[in-house]
Each structure stands twice: as structure tokens, then as C-alpha cells.
Subunit: 246 residues, 2 copies
């Protein structure tokens, strides 16, 4: 039987551990389901990084519990210390009501400098501690139109660096593999993939600017992409939006 | 006039900003002096990462103030969340009284998984926010006998990744350069270099296991290497060791 993962021809005899970056959004939740479906024992990693939308951390905890991860670590890092992004800096507005053409133009205000590099570096530390050689990230094609640290060439360079950075690399053990199973999927395809794997998207949170009770705004870039994805996938979005009856 | 930095033939017309990783130890303090000597405006970056020897953060603050850095950021990150190192895990002993042959064998217990990758990732974020293209690290040849993430091939791979990770890379601005000016220097050569640049080593702290008043133990790997370095350089070590009269 052929294993669906990218590295081997056979199904793994024993479940290998994998680190899964889990924000609690639609993409990372789907990625976690894919990692499990590929036979890995998942170790989830989330970040408390001074993001405005800390509602997503609650979503990450719900998702990790529902999907039965081996361990869920929330690493506390303060990216606000440098400033410079709408996601962490109260002085920068989250853009709303933009069309897809505008979203694709340049680097968005919601870009956090070197965020993926920092997140993946922590994933690398976690991998080394639990003896995992596989790291899953929910980066998508939609992201890499705007975020430099979501492009395939960046991910390849990170993987190359990771294989020189770690004890296992020095000691000649298994290579670190960075998996980005959503990279070539549209939002609708991601939703179809997750739905087929039994993902409950009601647990997820994608909005950059939710209200105090965690309801999505429906107008920021991620809300618009999410809503369009559900429409195209032919499923209703199960989360509650602001203005909708509670 | 030729600039001593590795990138240009002429002295920079205007001082360029550079990020300097500053632990408050002997090596990073010397590196800061080298960065200034090369004409850069230094932005220092230290980490509060759950290290046992938080005494070094006080040293970093003293050094940053004395050397007149443009800004000193202390980023708060909790590497204890993963465990696995004598430097952050109270359950692992710091090795003492080892000879240099033993220190050179394998990866030391004081190795923190992916620490340099995490530190350099934060430096990259800081660089992007302040518009710097240069990052200085005090990695030395002595380090890379034991720590995988101190080897030249690792540093080169990080630089390659960094140049795909950032807004400036995407927008075609200047390349990120990772400077490791101490890489080929012995401890004695580092001390001679810093002394020639006016570094006050009395402000620094190197010990992995200082007492409550900050005095060095004199027996851990870094203390032994430091003491040997001063002896070889022909200078007295100006810091106070445990057991010495206060």
C-alpha cells in the first residue's frame, strides 16, 4: 500500500511524530487533518504573539482537542516589541472591503515581519525536542501572492537551513521535511479536502478583526476569502458573523 | 579609503543600521564593538528566554548603554515551553570542570534546540522594521565544534533563506548580510580585538551558572574558555569570580 505522504513508498510501520503549526484558522485546521490522514502523530504548535485577534488561540485549543493531538504547545512570543504590522500594532488599521485584485497587490498591511520564519524556527525547536522530522504548515497559494515568507522558494530555503541547524542533522539522522499540503489548493479545494476528512469548520476562526465575543467581521481579507471559498465549495460557512442573529 | 566591512570598497557615505545580537557575554560585546568600528549604527537585540543565567541580561543592558546603541530591544520568548536543555531546564545539570577535549565532544547539554535559528529570525524581523540589511552575530569557531547552529554552512543557509523571507527581498532592495566577524578567531584573539576597540570586559557576563549576585562560577565550559582566553591574550579578566573577595 502506497503512503500518501511525499517521502515514502510504503505506509509507515509506526506512526511518526509531526509538528503542525495551528493558528485555529481554516487552513491550519485542514492541514492538521491532512497530517493525521497521512499517518502522523500530530504535535500542535500555536503562538500567542500579541495578535489583535487572540480569539484564534481559543479556536486553536478547540481544534487541537477535537482532533486529538498528542500535545498542544502555545508558545508565548511578543512580536509587538518591533511593531510594524496591522496584526500586532494598534496604530495600523486592518484593511476592509477590498476586492481580490487589491488583495493581490503588493505586501499587505497585515504582514508581520519575518513571522513565518519565527514560527517555523519554533517548530524546528519543538521537532527536535519530541524527535519529529516532519513539520506541517498551512501556507496556501493565496498567501504567497502577498507574503514573501509563504512562497515555495522560501519554504525550500527554510528546509535547507533547518537541515543544517539541528542536532539530528549533525548526527546524521533523518532529514527535516517541511510539508505544505495546501500550497497548490484554492480556498474551495481546501474546504472540500477538510470536509472529506471530517473537519468541523464551526470550531475555526479566520477573521483578522473579530468582535469581543469572537464573531467574524465578514469584511477583512480573510473573511472575504473564506466566504468566497465556502460559496465555491458548495457548503455553508458554519461560523457566526457580526450582525447575524446570535 | 577602503571600508573594513565585507561588502563594499568605499567607506559608507551614511551610517547604515545593523542589528547586533547581544547576549551580554564576551563574544557578542566584542561583536558590537566591531559593528560600530565598521561604521554601522547598531540596534542591539537581546532575549529573555527563560535562561537560568538571566544575569547576562543585566550585562547586555550595561554594554548597550556604554556602547551607545541606537536602540536596545529585549524580546521575551519562552524556550522552556519545549524543555530539553541545561540552559533552560532546571532538571538538567550544567557540566563543570571539563577539559577542552571533552567540551569538543558531541553536542553539549547546554545546547538549546534551534536557539540560533530563533534568535536570527527575530533579528530578521527587527532588521525589516528598522530598515537594516545587516545582522551581526558573535558566533565563534569554538562554538561550532559543538553547536550545529553555529557552523559556517548553517550561517550561509540562514542568509540564503533570509533573502527570500523579507519584504526587502521581494521588493528588490538590498540583500540581507549576516556578519560573523569572530568566526575564525580564538578567544584570545577576540579579547585582543575588543581591547583594541576599547571594550570594557568588566561589564560582560559569560558564566552559565552565576550566583545570585552575578559572580561567575569559574568552572563551567564558558568560564574555563574565558579564563584561558584572557591568560593567552595577556590581560587579566576584570570580572569577579565566586570565592574571590568581593
Amino acid at each position: 500500500m502506497k503512503c500518501p505522504c511525499s517521502r515514502g513508498r510504503k505506509v509507515h510501520a509506526m506512526a511518526e511524530s509531526a509538528i503542525v503549526l495551528l493558528s485555529g484558522g481554516l487552513d491550519s485546521t485542514t492541514t492538521l487533518a491532512v497530517a493525521k490522514d497521512r499517518g502522523f502523530t500530530p504535535y500542535a504548535l500555536s503562538f500567542s504573539y500579541g495578535q489583535r485577534h487572540s480569539v484564534e488561540l481559543a479556536a486553536a485549543r478547540r481544534v487541537a482537542e477535537r482532533q486529538g493531538v498528542e500535545r498542544h504547545v502555545v508558545a508565548d512570543i511578543d512580536l509587538r516589541v518591533f511593531g510594524g504590522s496591522a496584526l500586532t500594532d494598534a496604530g495600523v488599521d486592518v484593511p476592509k472591503g477590498r476586492g481580490e485584485a487589491e488583495m493581490g497587490e503588493g505586501i499587505p498591511a497585515t504582514y508581520v515581519p519575518a513571522r513565518n520564519t519565527i514560527f517555523l524556527s519554533f517548530a524546528l525547536a519543538y521537532a527536535e525536542v519530541v524527535g519529529a522530522a516532519d513539520i506541517f504548515t498551512g501556507v496556501t497559494a493565496v498567501d504567497y501572492s502577498g507574503y514573501p515568507d509563504c512562497r515555495p522558494e522560501y519554504l525550500g530555503a527554510f528546509e535547507a537551513m533547518a537541515n543544517l541547524a539541528t542536532r539530528s542533522a549533525v548526527e546524521g539522522k533523518r532529514r527535516i521535511t517541511l510539508h505544505s499540503p495546501l500550497l497548490d489548493l484554492s480556498k474551495a479545494e481546501i474546504i472540500r479536502t477538510g470536509t472529506a476528512l471530517g473537519v468541523d469548520y464551526a470550531l475555526t476562526s479566520s477573521c483578522y478583526d473579530p468582535d469581543d465575543s469572537g464573531r467574524a467581521c465578514g469584511h477583512c481579507d480573510t473573511c472575504l476569502l473564506r466566504l468566497k471559498g465556502f460559496t465555491e465549495a458548495g457548503f455553508p460557512d458554519p461560523i457566526t458573523y457580526q450582525g447575524a442573529p446570535a
